[in-house]
């Protein structure tokens, strides 16, 4: 046992066993899987480009678990108002009162063997959110889930293992916004696992915003199963100055299943953001498209690994993948590796990645109109992100994500006065109203 594993074991001992026998067993198995695998190292193919040393170096002996979880519907994250067929519950409450609802569902997709940190998250699972959409249920306003780490009063590190389980019944539809936030002094580790099950013809739009600050280490792993003619629209926004790993693991299991996986990552400071997607086409006539756009500034490093696996009987698969990147500084770097594994013969698949810099002519044009170099860079970088932001269907979320990106972009340009960071409110004048500050 490594020191980190030993101290995590101590942490585990402090967590009261919750839930029914099947969960206790599941968590023990997950713990064994974690102990067997240990913290991932760069010797593993999947972790070749990301060094978890900052995680291994955390003093877990002093760690406490902490996260504040606020689920709600609509802006302001009000508590859930009654929408027919839509249930939003805290996971801990469900495990206490009606654990049978989760038997065979919680932990089914997030196989501990898929990765040590997935196993660890299950082993130390405490709380999270369960969303259940009854067949035909529709939730127009976005369901908001905020996983926030409170500031550490004594400067000690904390670990949090927030969980999300989404069960979308046949013909149901909903938009989810999952946000991770932590103040700059909240050192520690967030290990998030989400499981999404989309029954036939379900439609789920998921927007994830990862905005935890360094030195906190963020890991999230989403596992989704998409059934016949169901559709998942996933948008991942990562605004990182610390170490972030975001995994998406999707399976299209019946004909007509569709998935869009889009993402935008902005890495600044000494940040490191690693996005690893896997899309498995396990049935014929399924479609997946993904576009992740990366912007690396300062000494930031980005990693994109996109695996598309087309199983032998997944004929008529349509899969596309692209990863355009912008490097804003000499020290910034990107490691991009799209990867197609095709075992069927009648397939349309494309992939590509590009690495570039801001367009010098465009930059000069803006400066020649009196716009300062820093602001011009922000304008052009925002334009680069815009394709992805515009893909967010819900206008309120689209505006909100746009503002968060603006703030992160301003942080990349220290010469911009702070009041300019979020002062302008109409760059998206052609779109919906600007987002107000959330409660």
């Amino acid at each position: 046992m490594s020191a980190a594993v030993e101290t995590l074991d101590r942490l585990r001992a402090g967590i009261a066993p919750i839930g029914p026998a099947w969960l206790v067993r599941q968590r023990e198995e997950a713990w064994s899987a974690f102990v067997e695998a240990g913290l991932p190292t760069r010797r593993l193919e999947a972790w070749k480009s990301t060094n978890l040393a900052p995680l291994a170096a955390l003093d877990f002996a002093r760690i406490t678990t902490a996260s504040s979880i606020a689920p709600g519907i609509g802006s302001g994250a009000k508590t859930a108002t009654a929408i027919p067929g839509v249930r939003i519950d805290r996971l801990a409450g469900v495990l206490q009162r009606e654990p049978e609802r989760l038997a065979g569902r919680l932990g089914r997709l997030a196989d501990p063997k898929r990765g040590a940190l997935v196993a660890l998250s299950t082993a130390l699972l405490e709380d999270g959110v369960v969303i259940e959409l009854a067949p035909g249920a529709r939730c127009e306003a976005p369901i908001r889930i905020r996983f926030a780490v409170p500031p550490a009063a004594d400067g000690s590190a904390s670990a949090s293992f927030p969980r999300l389980l989404v069960l979308a019944g046949e013909d149901s539809a909903a938009t989810l916004f999952v946000e991770f936030d932590s103040p700059a002094d909240a050192a520690g580790f967030t290990d998030h696992v989400a499981e999404l099950v989309l029954a036939p013809r379900a439609r789920v739009a998921l927007v994830q915003l990862q905005a935890e600050s360094a030195p906190r280490v963020h890991f999230s792993s989403l596992h989704a199963e998409i059934d016949r003619s169901a559709r998942l629209d996933s948008h991942v926004f990562t605004l990182a100055d610390g170490l972030v790993r975001s995994e998406l693991d999707l399976r299209l299991i019946a004909p007509g299943a569709e998935a869009t996986l889009d993402g935008f990552f902005l890495v600044r400071g000494a940040g490191h953001a690693d996005h690893f997607t896997t899309v498995e086409h396990a049935a014929p006539h399924c479609t997946s498209s993904q576009e992740y756009r990366g912007v690396m500034g300062d000494r930031g490093k980005g990693v994109f690994r996109g695996r598309v696996v087309v199983r032998p009987d997944a004929q008529k698969t349509n899969a596309s993948q692209s990863n355009p990147n912008l490097l804003l500084s000499e020290q910034a770097a990107i490691d991009t590796r799209p990867q197609l594994e095709i075992y069927a013969d009648d397939v349309r698949a494309s992939h590509g990645s590009t690495i570039g810099q801001l367009d010098a002519d465009a930059l000069f044009f803006l400066r020649a109109r009196g716009i300062g170099a820093a602001e011009a860079r922000v304008l052009l970088t925002r334009a680069f992100a815009r394709t992805i932001v515009d893909g967010v269907g819900d206008p309120e979320l689209r505006a909100e994500v746009g503002h968060r990106i603006d703030r992160a972009l301003a942080a990349l340009e220290p010469t911009l006065a702070a009041d300019r960071a979020d002062g302008d409110d109409d760059h998206d004048a052609s779109e919906g109203p600007p987002a107000g500050d959330r409660a």
């Binding site: 109109r369 009196g370 716009i371 300062g372 052009l380 109409d426």
Partner: protein, 257 residues
């Protein structure tokens, strides 16, 4: 003030990349005057405009440029723009993802801030924008589109003039603004330019053809050849050039040097 020199270019030598293009150019433009520069391809017209606005890739090797008596060449591009230098580009760049109206307001406010004026809020700016758009007959929908994206050649040029109207520069350089314009677009663009003429404002109109100068009538016409001004005259010089071409002037200049 009228009749003071607004811009003074003295013995300007400049390279585009590593190639010497301007070889001792002298030019003085007083406030309120419109000057035209004509000349064959490669004579240095575009290099002159790029040097004046501080485009990277162009280096001044000798000489000086004074703007209102101050050394222009030590300022960066954005400061020159804020001080009142404006170039209407020959080939305006397309910038996908940046809405025209947002760009314009950002530029107007950058310049207003520099001049010690309050920033315009979205509503005040819209009022100003609508007024200026009428002058260049631009439809509203072009404002919410990305900068120049999918614009025709004429629309791009009108967009350049719109920027000039909004930014109210003291010194306007029009770099072949007439190229690629049909007669209607030429009229619209010229009207916009003429509406800007004032005793405090000067213009430098760079063109191949006399045609534009029928609409924007210059006070002085200069002929640029091999990086120097080889002949200057009144507006009738443009007509003479149209008739005889540049050959005779270049020959004359060649004999003199």
């Amino acid at each position: 003030m009228a009749n003071d020199p607004l811009i003074q270019i003295r013995n300007l030598h400049a390279n585009a990349g590593d190639t010497p293009i301007l070889r001792g150019l002298d030019l003085e433009i007083r406030a309120g005057e419109v000057h035209a520069i004509m000349g064959p391809n490669g004579s240095g017209k575009s290099t002159l405009s790029n040097v004046l606005v501080g485009r990277p890739g162009y280096t001044v090797t000798e000489g000086e440029v004074l703007f209102r008596g101050k050394n222009l060449l030590e300022l960066d591009a954005e400061t020159r723009a804020r001080e009142g230098i404006f170039l209407a580009f020959q080939y305006p760049v397309e910038i996908p993802g940046v809405a025209n109206n947002y760009f314009l307001r950002t530029a107007v406010n950058a310049i207003r801030t520099h001049r010690g004026l309050d920033r315009l809020d979205a509503l005040d700016f819209l009022t100003l924008l609508k007024e200026k758009m009428k002058l260049v007959e631009m439809p509203d929908e072009m404002m919410s589109r990305a900068i120049n994206e999918g614009f025709s050649g004429g629309e791009k040029k009108r967009n350049e003039i719109l920027q000039m109207l909004l930014l109210e520069p003291a010194f306007c350089i029009l770099d072949e603004t007439d190229s690629g314009l049909d007669i209607d677009a030429l009229r619209i663009v010229s009207n916009g330019v003429n509406s800007m003429r004032s005793p405090e404002r000067s213009m430098l109109v760079i063109t191949h053809y006399q045609r534009l100068l029928d609409y924007v009538v210059p006070d002085r016409v200069h002929v640029l050849s091999r990086g120097r001004i080889v002949r200057s005259g009144g507006k009738e010089l443009a007509l003479e050039l149209e008739e005889k071409g540049y050959g005779w002037i270049e020959d004359e200049a060649g004999r003199k040097s």
